[in-house]
């Protein structure tokens, strides 16, 4: 197996007029967690569907465990697990029946499928509900069963498509723990999410996509660092005051971004920069009403990229 468990080059896929993927490339190093981050409609599910062999790309090429997802799809299916948004469990079967069925269809022999199903029900906290029909499960229980179903044949590569969308915080954290355990045991995970917090918490590498292309990539720390280490938010209360401050800061060499009566300034130099900024404002604009200093989150990176703003 190559160093990357998952590789994609120049994937393109259109649905009618909509170009869902427009030349997407990525690689997931074996044994790592990659967070594929993007807003609704950015191509996350399309990417996962192609990598998991349920969708054919119009152009481009992708491999999982070195196997081509189009020409060698049958063998790819033996090494992947898929859970999430659009992969379902059967509401009219019990949790245990679902797992046994999917285990059998994943080519696990009958006895092994039973043992493995009970193991997974246990580790996902579904023991008590194992004999109940899934149609009576809560959203969180369904998602957990869904992830368990993807793990029956112990796939070395796991795709999780928005596994925590719509879950309450408790269920989300429980799922995070499961993903961390899997990663620790050596499973390669490609996880799509709309939540930056989630990518930050789980991913070794983050790929941000927008309109079917990669907008940026790096570790969560790199992305945040690239964006600046400190973020100042100065509130002037009135637009005219903010406008004056905007001009003053810009002429002093800062790169202010004005939003109404507020101004945001990114800095790589740390919070000490505030003194310099206030000096630049002195006499040219009113004092700010309030000043907030914080570390940038992945949200800041994400918003600046997807809104077409430049990263510092």
């Amino acid at each position: 197996m190559s160093e990357s468990a998952v590789e994609a080059y120049g994937l393109r896929k259109a649905f009618g007029e909509v170009q869902a993927l427009d030349g997407l490339s990525l690689a997931v190093p074996t044994g790592s967690v990659l967070g594929l981050l993007g807003p609704n409609g950015s191509g996350k599910t399309t990417t996962v569907s192609i990598l998991a062999t349920s969708l054919h790309p119009d152009a481009g090429r992708a491999t999982v465990a070195g196997l081509d997802v189009v020409t060698d799809a049958a063998r790819v299916r033996r090494v992947i697990g898929l859970a999430g948004q659009f992969a379902a469990v059967d509401p009219n079967l019990t949790g245990r029946e679902n797992l046994r069925l999917i285990g059998r269809l994943s080519r696990v022999d009958r006895r092994q499928a039973r043992v493995r199903a009970d193991e997974l029900l246990d580790s996902f906290g579904l023991n008590a509900a194992a004999g109940r029909l899934v149609r009576g499960y809560s959203g969180g229980m369904r998602r957990r069963l869904d992830v368990a179903a993807a793990l029956l044949h112990r796939p070395p590569v796991l795709f999780l498509d928005e596994p925590t969308t719509g879950l309450d915080p408790e269920s989300r954290f429980a799922l995070w723990d499961s993903v961390r355990d899997l990663a620790r045991s050596g499973t390669t995970v490609l996880l799509t999410t709309q939540y930056l917090e989630e990518a930050d918490a789980l991913a070794d590498q983050v790929v941000i996509i927008s309109a079917g292309r990669v907008a940026d990539t790096g570790t969560p720390a790199e992305l945040k660092a690239r964006f600046g280490t400190v973020l100042f938010h100065l509130d002037f209360g009135r637009q005219e005051a903010a406008q004056a401050a905007d001009t003053a800061l810009a002429s002093a060499g800062y790169r202010p971004q004005r939003d109404g009566a507020g101004i945001q300034v990114r800095s790589a130099a740390g919070s000490g920069e505030l003194t310099g900024m206030l000096r630049a404002l002195d006499g040219r604009a009113p004092d700010p009403v309030s000043v907030a200093i914080r570390e940038p989150t992945l949200d800041d990176v994400f918003l600046s990229l997807t809104r077409g703003g430049e990263a510092a």
Binding site: S49, A52, T53, S54, L55, H56, L67, D68, T71, D72, A74, R77, R78, I80, L82, Q85, F86, A87, A88, V89, D90, P91, N92, L93, E97, L101, I102, R104, L105, S106, R107, L133, A149, H153
Partner: protein
Amino acid sequence: MSTIAAAPRQPAASRVWASGVTDALSDTADVAWRNLLTQLRTPQALVFALIQPVIFVLLFRYAFGGAIHVPGTNYVDFLMPGIFAQTVAFGAVGTAVGLSGDLRTGILVRFRTLPMARIAVLAGRTAADLARNLLVVAVMIGVGFAAGFRSPNGAGGLLAALGLVVAFGYAISWGFASLGLRVSDPEAAQAAAVPVLFLLVFTSAAFVPSSAMPGWLQAFGTHQPVDALVNAERALILGGPAAHDVLISLAWSGGLLVVFALLAARTYARMGR
């Protein structure tokens, strides 16, 4: 592809084929089991599947039957072969509805990413629908007997006729399988299927002799599979020379099965392109 050529030690082709067939049968059994269980757990659907043919028996036996005269036989003995054919024909809509439901819920996406035999999704669905047809037909025999049906040619003829009915039902459920895979909305699948079935059933000799229809309608009505099935059933149930009609019906069912199964397999294989 080159990747296959590079794979280590390929077992003999015949053994690969044999294990492929075993796997496909086992996967089909698993999917069929799942579909049957699902149907048993939504008994409303099963009950509604029975209500319609029962109403048709009552309507045609008691409301219209008095006005329909078929020379040489009791109308109810004439009617029941038509009811059996109608029952499995409309029952096949269930195949389309079931598959489009699986398409909508996303179960099919999961199945498509599992290392299972691809044909099992379709073969398992149609096998479960075959089992449901057996149950529904058994109930209709009971209803028929309660309404005065006596199967004049005896049990052998009746069983042979029901064999033809079930074979026809199995063949057309493959046709509805392709429909179900193309429409991810069960209501739409149903709306698309029902008019076609109405046309086939009501232009056939299911409820009235074809000789009562105008010539242009007879030309269509007597050259289609439901009519062939009903004629073969009547020959077996009422007595008389049956071989010719039975062969025609079997030819229809066999031909439809091959065409529809290939079509459905192709539709399934091309999904996601």
